[in-house]
């Protein structure tokens, strides 16, 4: 671009400062070493992207595809949210903070992290055996799924409801209510960075999408500050919905990406790229 023809070039410049600035010599070409470094980094990014086959959630994936619905996968691989819970468990052991949750008793972190972790703080993400087929032939329609999810998910927060919604409640050290993206950062720090990769070509969620994610948790929008984090859960595109309840407590839900439906309302969105930079 030729500076002399761009922008406000027609504006008066009585002092000549604009011309002086334009006359300053530039820093020149990017140093070869830096160019090679960035080129290598971009090739690594491209290689990673090429290795990752875009994963489309099953067409009939039920809207509420919670952590607990991923039992089969979880049995083969440590779930990042369990890592998160375990991390917080360890943190709680030091700082006296509470990690709690969730449903049922069929599956808990004891098997993964040993008795001490479970005894100390007991973060348990539990699939319900009856939910094992939720990725099957359910006909839950996406547009209405959020509303349906809202109705069905609310009881899931009740440990006795046992309907398959996994929740992890974790504490943070500060008793001061912090911003929603702080909680997203908490989540990002606890989830492996490797889980933040691009899945297919996807635009940022709209406001409509965002509210749908909140609705899918079964909670009211006004019940806290919300943040969304794109991620993958056991190779399934997912959204982690984080609610700041104040008093240093937040909750996170891993929800199927197909829940990106709903109504308009502002919800903070934290994209995975910025999370990668944390």
């Amino acid at each position: 671009m030729n500076p002399s023809t761009s922008g406000d070039g027609s504006e008066p410049d009585p002092t000549g400062v604009r011309d002086l600035l334009r006359a300053l010599p530039g820093p020149g070409a990017m140093p070869a070493g830096l160019e090679a470094r960035i080129d290598a980094a971009l090739r690594a990014e491209q290689a990673q992207r090429s290795r990752q086959v875009p994963i489309a959630p099953p067409a009939n994936l039920e809207c509420m595809a919670p952590v607990a619905d991923l039992a089969e996968h979880r049995r083969r691989r440590v779930h990042p949210l369990l890592v998160a819970a375990a991390s917080v468990a360890a943190f709680a052991g030091i700082g006296g903070l509470v990690v709690s949750q969730v449903l049922g008793s069929e599956y808990d972190v004891t098997a993964l992290y040993g008795n001490s972790a479970a005894e100390d703080s007991g973060p348990q993400v539990v699939p319900n055996a009856s939910d094992e087929g939720k990725f099957g032939d359910s006909e839950a329609a996406a547009p209405d799924a959020a509303a349906e999810g809202a109705q069905s998910a609310a009881p899931a927060l009740d440990p006795n409801a046992n309907d398959g919604l996994g929740t992890i409640t974790y504490g943070v050290e500060s008793s001061v209510t912090v911003e929603a993206d702080t909680f997203a950062q908490d989540v990002s720090e606890m989830l492996p960075v490797a889980d933040y990769f691009v899945v297919g070509s996807r635009n940022y969620p709209t406001q409509t999408d965002r509210l749908g994610c909140v609705a899918a948790t079964g909670e009211e929008l006004a019940s806290g500050e919300w943040a969304l984090v794109y991620t993958t859960v056991d190779a399934n595109a997912a959204v982690v919905v984080v609610r700041d309840q104040g008093e240093g407590i937040s909750q996170a839900w891993a929800i199927s990406e197909q829940c990106l439906q709903g109504e308009t309302n502002p919800v903070t969105f934290v994209d995975r790229t910025s999370l990668n930079d944390l």
Binding site: G7, P14, G16, R18, I38, L42
Partner: protein, 181 residues
């Protein structure tokens, strides 16, 4: 392969972005080669520190690579890249204390141009003394050659804000250098 390279070289920035969004494995590399020097310049001018600028411009290109899906063609690719790189610079500056000064990196103007306006102080030093907003506006508009509209997009402010920042920045520099209208 050669025909692919030829077609990429002739492709517009927007076409390259679309190719990248569609999974083309060389398109973004072409964008990088095409704009690396300008992004390096804006990073260096923004951070005034070669090491921070290097990290920031790398951050910016990586972020642009990953966030390509968010580019919807509402602005020029170069404007979008400027925005990402400037933000990466500001992020870096807020995290890292500068350890060196750009004064040693940018060559001093050697032409006789300044003598005619009796420059009493180095204009870069005067530029560096400006508030961040004014400095960034002048870097983008006067030094990087962006239009006011493009700079407004890059800095996520109104065009009027860019105009006023440029005017106030130029005025401050003129006063600093003892230049009279």
């Amino acid at each position: 392969m050669m025909s692919s390279m030829v077609s990429l070289t002739g492709a517009s920035d927007a076409e390259l972005m679309r190719l990248h969004q569609g999974g083309h494995d060389e398109a973004f590399g072409e964008l990088f080669r095409r704009h690396k020097d300008r992004m390096w310049a804006v990073a260096l001018r923004t951070t005034r520190d070669p090491e921070i600028a290097a990290d920031a411009v790398q951050d910016g290109f990586i972020k642009a690579f990953r966030r390509a899906d968010s580019f919807r063609g509402d602005s020029q690719v170069t404007t979008w890249l400027h925005r990402i790189v400037v933000n990466a610079c500001l992020d870096r500056l807020r995290k890292i204390k500068p350890t060196s000064n750009l004064d040693d990196h940018e060559p001093v103007e050697t032409r006789d141009y300044h003598q005619s306006v009796e420059v009493r102080m180095d204009i870069r030093a005067a530029l560096n003394r400006l508030p961040e907003g004014q400095r960034l506006a002048l870097i983008l508009v006067d030094m990087q050659g962006l239009s006011v509209a493009e700079a407004a997009i890059a800095l996520d402010v109104a065009q009027g804000t860019i105009k006023s920042r440029c005017a106030r920045g130029r005025s401050a520099i003129a006063q600093d250098l003892g230049l009279s209208p």
